[in-house]
């Protein structure tokens, strides 16, 4: 199992294990608490062959499948099986590169395949051995084991060739899918060797891996393996599956969290052409049609009455009130305590609030299911194949081997597809009919049936020493725990969900006295807290880095200089900070009125990243990002092209949420419905993004969520620099609208060049 590059270990932690765990980030942390570590290590096993591959190998096709990831056919076709799912993060490409690097084939000569549901073979160690994709764990997880898997295959192929040529194995090399005997110039393709290699005994123990100096793939930019089929419409997402006899369903669930179906008058719906059936579930109604349009027309013709239940009057104000109350009167769980609050010194304090967030994956949630007497077949793009299969076993009473699961490309995941809810609903519907049914949620349903990133309410304070540096730092976050619902075993004995304090208990900065704690505050029944594109780090980095900016301001110091002074013991973080600052020309030249720059620095998911945003706040209070410069240390980059894509995508995802997003609860349900009221950043709002990387060969850090986690604080700090409004309550657009006059005056003052004034 790989560990990210070290950061200075703080021995004063209450629980050293927790400290170790805290280095992994987001979703990964939870799983480490499973103590599944050992089971997990077995999960990706370069020496274990999948049973079906073994069977297939027995009758010669594929001729050679030394483990669950590599299949080589006699025609030389190299098929690589992907343990993780592809949802845009380019993991298929990265995984293929790790395998192919050691196997000695070109990316042009391989094809990749979705893995079946099989945790024993495809589990992710950092996720406790569960076959799940999330928490930016995939590359960190497969870094060693996948290269081993490729090496095992290569070793056996070389042995097969050497035996045939009667030469020493170590006199042979591999290149472009062939074994080469340099001395005699003989070559044999992998296809020709597959059958023989398939009969050789497995090597024992770990096989020495390539010297990084000789990498031909790793570290170079490669085109995604799924690029070609994603530019011509060929790529199959779950929503695209076609099954003979399939009908299409769409659903309306109770608009109130936890509400139930009371009754439905479907007479008008059933009379409509193309409507096939109306299916009642305990909390929803589904209309099945010959096509989606018919189903949708049917749905709109239903007259449904709901039993709204306890949440009928719930709204955002009430949820906020509960958080505020818990943050004052709830019992905090301490994540880190070091030293004491000093008696003297200037004290600064603030309250930060973060809203519920939707995922709004571009592909609305959908699942296709066919339940028959003796089996249940599922077609679905999911981050958690095991959970879906387990749910099917439970709902159908069929044995696991009777659940046939097909995975697909995911039209975005962002943590939403770490939930099996859509599959569960589709299975319940399919059980009531005798044909395959594809359940598609309208975008409105997709937003209103969210399992959102929970709200947070953070009280943060500091006491400054005579030089204005934090002598004491106290951060109390209040909110619901995702892990407590999703993976309860992950909570520590004292009930701490480490994710809630990720990047808060540990910051890059040297502060003598620290208190970091979490007050649990569950969401009401029926509203579930969900994973997102980085939960803990995305939430905490906004609070920590915004507040760090407040401290610099309180101390009357430059935000860059202020941070540098606290980073003298953290060269890795200091390096990315200085890199970004240098590239944007921090402090050099002067900016136009109404324009400001904001710094944010963090070490989420085992990487170190600094983003500096240059943004303008117009006189109307609108924010325009002009430029973003990023300094990054993510260890060894497997594919630099993917790294920069993830930084760009992660940042834009984070900016979208920071500027515009926050779900509103009213009458017990979600108000937003679609992209007209749940707004997404558009290309004409997108700044230029420059990425500068610190090159290292340390094992890779996570990438998928790193950009997202750093986006909000960098932008909020830029907004402050531009107009003097400190955003402590996301999203920024709403915050600025609330402080519109304040912002307008400040910008006006800036326009008169009175900078100091504007910053007060």
């Amino acid at each position: 199992m790989s560990t990210p590059t070290d950061t200075p270990i703080d021995s004063t932690l209450i629980n050293p294990d927790r400290r170790k765990a805290l280095k992994f980030g987001g979703l990964a942390i939870g799983f480490l608490w499973l103590g599944g570590g050992k089971a997990a290590l077995a999960a990706i096993n370069p020496l274990r062959q999948s049973d079906d591959a073994a069977v297939a190998a027995a009758d010669g096709h594929p001729a050679f499948a030394p483990n669950a990831f590599v299949c080589i056919d006699t025609d030389g076709k190299v098929r690589l099986v992907m343990p993780n799912v592809e949802m845009g993060q380019s993991i298929y490409t990265g995984t293929a590169m790790l395998l192919a690097e050691e196997l000695g084939v070109d990316l042009a000569h391989i094809s990749v395949e979705h893995a079946p549901s099989n945790a024993q073979l495809y589990g992710t160690a950092l996720l406790g051995g569960e076959q799940a994709t999330g928490g930016s764990t995939s590359t960190r997880n497969g870094w060693e084991s996948l290269r081993q898997a490729g090496a095992v295959a290569r070793l056996l192929l070389v042995q097969a060739a050497a035996a045939q040529w009667k030469v020493a194995a170590d006199s042979c090399t591999v290149e472009h899918g062939e074994v080469v005997h340099g001395a005699s110039g003989r070559r044999l393709g992998y296809g020709a060797l597959a059958a023989a290699a398939g009969k050789l005994p497995m090597p024992s123990g770990a096989i020495p891996l390539k010297d990084p100096a000789h990498y031909t793939l790793i570290g170079k930019p490669w085109r995604r393996v799924d690029a070609a089929i994603k530019v011509n419409g060929e790529a199959q997402f779950g929503i695209d599956v076609k099954v003979p006899g399939m009908k299409i369903a769409t659903v309306r669930a109770c608009p109130v969290f936890g509400g139930k179906l009371a009754s439905v008058d479907d007479s008008r719906a059933r009379a409509l052409p193309g409507v096939v059936a109306v299916i009642k579930l305990d909390d929803a109604v589904a209309v099945i049609g010959d096509h989606y349009w018919a189903a949708l027309q049917g749905l709109q013709a239903l007259e449904i009455s709901w039993d709204l239940g306890a949440n009928a009057h719930l709204d955002t104000a009430e949820l906020t009130r509960q958080l505020d109350e818990h943050s004052r009167t709830g019992k905090p769980i301490v994540a880190r305590k070091q030293g004491q609050r000093p008696a003297a010194g200037k004290s600064v304090e603030a309250i930060y609030q973060l809203p519920l967030l939707a995922h709004a994956t571009m592909e609305p949630l959908n699942a296709t299911v066919h339940v028959s007497a003796d089996q249940c077949e599922i077609w679905l793009g999911t981050q958690v194949p095991n959970r879906v299969v387990a749910a099917a076993v439970k709902l159908t009473g069929l044995p696991e081997e009777k659940i046939i699961f097909h995975n697909f490309f995911l039209g975005g995941g962002f943590g939403r597809r770490l939930e099996a809810d859509i599959a569960v609903q589709a299975i319940k519907i399919a059980k009531q009919v005798n044909y395959p049914v594809k359940v598609i949620w309208s975008r409105e349903e997709d937003v209103r049936q969210e399992i959102p990133r929970p709200m947070y309410y953070d009280r943060i304070s500091a006491v400054l020493d005579p030089d204005g540096r934090p002598d004491y730092w106290s951060h109390r976050t209040t909110g619901a725990s995702v892990a407590a619902r999703w993976i309860p075993a992950a909570l520590s004995k004292d009930g701490l969900d480490s994710d809630t304090v990720e990047c808060a208990a540990e910051t890059p900065y040297a502060v003598p006295n620290v208190l970091s704690e979490w007050v649990p505050c569950d969401l009401p029944q029926g509203l579930l807290p969900g994973w997102w594109r980085g939960v803990g780090p995305t939430h905490n980095l906004f609070v920590v880095e915004s507040f760090m900016d407040e401290l610099a301001h309180a101390a009357g110091q430059d935000p860059l200089a202020y941070r540098r002074a606290l980073l003298q013991k953290n060269p890795r973080a200091l390096a990315v900070l200085d890199l970004a600052a240098e590239k944007i020309g921090w402090g050099k030249g002067s900016l136009p009125p109404g324009v400001g720059r904001g710094i944010a620095l963090g070490e989420p998911f085992g990487s170190a990243i600094c983003a500096i945003v240059e943004a303008e706040v117009t006189a109307e209070g609108s924010v325009r990002m002009r430029r973003v410069v990023v300094g990054l240390d993510c260890g060894q980059m497997v594919n630099p092209s993917s790294v920069s894509a993830q930084v760009q995508g992660g940042l834009l995802f984070g900016f979208s949420a920071a500027l515009y997003n926050g779900l509103t609860v009213k009458n017990g349900g979600i108000v937003e419905s679609n992209f007209n009221d749940y707004r997404n950043l558009r290309i004409n709002e997108t700044p230029a993004i420059e990425l500068h990387v610190v090159q290292t060969t340390a094992s890779p850090g996570g990438m998928g969520e790193v950009g997202t986690a750093i986006a909000a604080p960098a932008l909020a700090n830029a907004v402050f620099a531009a107009c003097g409004v400190r955003v402590r309550n996301l999203p920024i657009e709403r915050a600025l609208a609330a402080h519109h006059e304040e912002a307008r005056k400040a910008v006006a003052r800036r326009k008169q060049g009175d900078r100091a004034e504007a910053l007060t």
Partner: protein, 170 residues
């Protein structure tokens, strides 16, 4: 029964006149390259070409389409602009999850076909209706310039010989 001209072929479809083209393409004709994202013309995932114009098929009733030329992502490579755009998308390695990309490519192809040298602003105007949740906008800009002009100031370009293996599919 309505007769539609899709990708150069005539298709007889049994659809109510107010049924949006998107669902006729996906559920009746079986062309699933065109995607459903919002259904209210706010995201662009469903973009197709109608007589060469980029349109949102999710709000385009089929009743009015008899005799009009409809083309989708599946035949984008049959037009000059389409091929250029697809190639540029590969060279710059634009796609991430890929779900919005059919729509992005159709909008981009319509732009490039009508504008040999689009400025940043032209690109913004033509592409602002296409949402990408994965955030591929930076590379989309670069790819469109590459497609239009043939030369690029892209952050990074991946040469063809890097190869493009066949991806997983079901």
């Amino acid at each position: 029964m309505i007769t539609l001209q899709v990708n150069g072929e005539a298709h007889q479809v049994d659809a109510p006149p107010d049924m949006p083209l998107l669902w006729v393409l996906r559920d009746l004709i079986g062309l699933t390259g065109t995607k459903f994202g919002c259904g209210i013309a706010q995201c662009g995932a469903c973009t197709v070409h109608l007589d060469g114009q980029a349109v949102r098929s999710c709000v385009l009733p089929v009743g009015a389409l008899a005799g009009k030329a409809i083309s989708t992502i599946e035949t984008l490579d049959q037009s000059d602009a389409g091929r250029k755009v697809q190639q540029a998308w590969l060279t710059v390695d634009v796609v991430q999850c890929g779900y919005c990309q059919s729509g992005q490519l159709m909008s981009a192809a319509a732009l490039v076909a009508g504008n040999p040298n689009p400025s940043d602003n032209d690109i913004d105007m033509a592409m602002a209706g296409n949402i990408c949740r994965c955030g591929t906008y930076v590379r989309i800009r670069e790819a469109i310039k590459l497609a239009a002009t043939g030369h690029t100031d892209a952050l990074q370009v991946i040469p063809d010989d890097a190869g493009t293996p066949s991806g997983a599919n079901s």
